[in-house]
Amino acid sequence: MRNTPRIKIITLLMLSLGAIPLIADSIDEPFYTVLFSRMLILSIGAVSLNLILGFGGMVSFGHAVYLGIGSYVVGIGTFHAFEDGVEWMGNGFIHILVAIAVSALAGLIIGAISLRTHGVYFIMITLAFAQMFYFIAVGTEKYGGDDGLSLYMRSDFAGLLDLSNDNSLYYLNFAFLLTSLYLSHRLTNSRFGMAIRGTKSNEERMKSIGFPVFRYRLVAFVIAGIICGIAGVLSANQTDFVNPSVMHWTRSGDLIIMIVLGGIGTLFGPVIGAVAFLLLEELLSGITEYWQLIFGPMLLLIVIFARGGIDGMLVALDRWWLRYSVKKNVEDN
């Protein structure tokens, strides 16, 4: 691997993400730990969506469903642990396992129906199913309905990890992000991942050389759902609050924006995008209350003009750097 500016910048980004709590503590601004913690969680969500959207070409507009599922698993679990004293329901390992199981089941059902269709149908159907889950949460009065649930405690990791400390939670998020990046890397470069990427560029060809395209896609769809479900578990712990808006359809849109902003179908693109998205939101909403008046058209311009996202710009920077260093070498000799 060559030591290009792009690799340096991405390495720097990941290292600084790892150092955020230390920096925030040293300047006594714990707010930044919380802000970047949110970035990490949304990065995990975006990385998982990128698996199917970026590499597989499946434009799912309902990926926030799994954030909701993971969140509600924690919300409902701690609710019963607190109200009814059912201790095991507050256990973090159980939260993660249940979130995995429920996300996988939801992904299996949504995927089995929506993957039968293509293109614009797929977009509309995933959106519609996400809305269905949203309304189920709104209609479930026992767990707060529209208002949601406040968490009186965070997931309990049996003394291994104390999540009431924001820094511990931050590093748990960071560990999960690194794991999901590693998984994403391994998966997309495996035979399975190659098949998925193949279906993106030419589905008919993959079918005719004998790949069960539907089954491959469904498995990828479920894996993406599972990873995002775990992000949901982390998200509920981060906000100490669960309500239907975690899976509002605009959340799914946000995840897509992060991927495209950062660089679609690249390993680190979703992370770059999530960080850039939340920084932009912070920055613009600091300037004006009507920040979406700027952000909306910006999106339009990014779509029209900057198709590779930020990672694409870094690639362009690399190309320029390469030309520059070659030229310099020639001149020096």
Partner: protein, 307 residues
């Protein structure tokens, strides 16, 4: 079971179906002809309601306000098409989704800036605000009947326009083969603008008729847009006839399901469980219907010919 309530709810469902049809007809045409998935179609619905609210205030008459709001919507839609959407026709669906998502953010904030964050009410004139006595002494709000009547009229006009006129012929031709239409010397860009303007007027009409029943507020078009997607998926993308049938089915099932599901569930399980589960289950009904129809006919009920 309460028959009067059932009849009332059937009419309500019919009226929701009409609103859904007005939105779905435009959206499905825009998709069928320009191959554009326009998330901001719900924003046109919202603009229709806001325009009507403002014009009603200026003119002191809902009828005048509505008549002024329609051309305003068309103009707004055409400007939107010319500035922002035109570049998206050749792009991937992902690009279209993102760009029109950005448009929604912009338009919501734009409305907040101009009309403020608080919802508006559209006052109805005396003759529309009362209720009409139907048969068997059933009273039903006059304005909802007007919505149903207007919707059926528009559906009929749309049918005439699409199947009997030159423009309609071009629209049908554009839906089945765009390149061929432009190769035959038709100004396809003009056709796009006409279709988009038509879609904007239909969406605006739905919005301004929904305004007096619900509140006119920011984001009012988003929830109904997603139900419209369900309608289009059930009816078959690009098919106006499919949109009409599916809109009525979805409107009926959603409305009637919400009011009768607790009773129906109560037959099978205890009333307590029925009362807690019903709200969640009734909101699932239309999506379950969509899943069932897709399982049987993945192209929807009325897939357009040649697609």
């Amino acid at each position: 079971m309460n028959w009067i309530l059932l009849l009332e709810q059937t009419l309500n469902g019919f009226q929701l179906g009409i609103l859904l049809f007005l939105l779905a007809a435009g959206l499905t045409l825009i998709f069928g002809i320009m191959d554009l998935i326009n998330l901001a179609h719900g924003s046109l619905y919202m603009m229709g309601a806001y325009f009507a609210a403002t014009f009603t205030q200026w003119t002191d008459s809902f009828i005048l306000g509505a008549l002024l709001a329609l051309p305003a919507c068309m103009l707004f839609g055409i400007i939107l098409e010319k500035i922002a959407l035109r570049t998206l026709y050749t792009r991937s669906h992902l690009d279209q989704v993102l760009a029109t998502f950005g448009l929604i953010l912009f338009l919501n904030e734009f409305v907040r800036l101009i009309w403020g964050p608080i919802g508006l009410d559209i006052p109805l004139p005396q003759m529309l605000s009362g209720s009409v006595e139907l048969f068997f002494g059933i009273h039903y709000p006059a304005f909802r009947l007007v919505i149903i009547a207007v919707g059926i009229l528009v559906a009929f006009l749309l049918y005439l326009l699409v199947s009997k006129t030159k423009v309609g012929m071009l629209i049908r031709a554009g839906a089945s083969n765009r390149q061929m239409v432009s190769a035959l010397g038709i100004n396809i860009n003009l056709l796009y603008t006409v279709v988009f303007g038509l879609g904007a007027v239909l969406a605006g009409l739905a919005g301004l008729m929904a305004g007096p029943i619900m509140t006119v507020e920011i984001g009012m078009g988003e929830g109904i847009l997603i139900i419209t997607f369900v309608v289009i998926v059930i009816g078959g993308v690009g098919s106006i006839r499919g949109a009409f049938v599916a809109a009525l089915i979805v409107g009926f099932i959603d409305t009637v399901g919400r009011s009768f599901l607790p009773d129906i569930l109560g037959i099978f399980v205890s009333n307590d469980i029925a009362d807690t589960a019903a709200p969640a289950i009734s909101s699932m009904l239309i999506y379950i219907l969509m899943a069932l129809i897709l399982a049987i006919k993945p192209q929807g009920l009325f897939p357009p010919k040649g697609a």
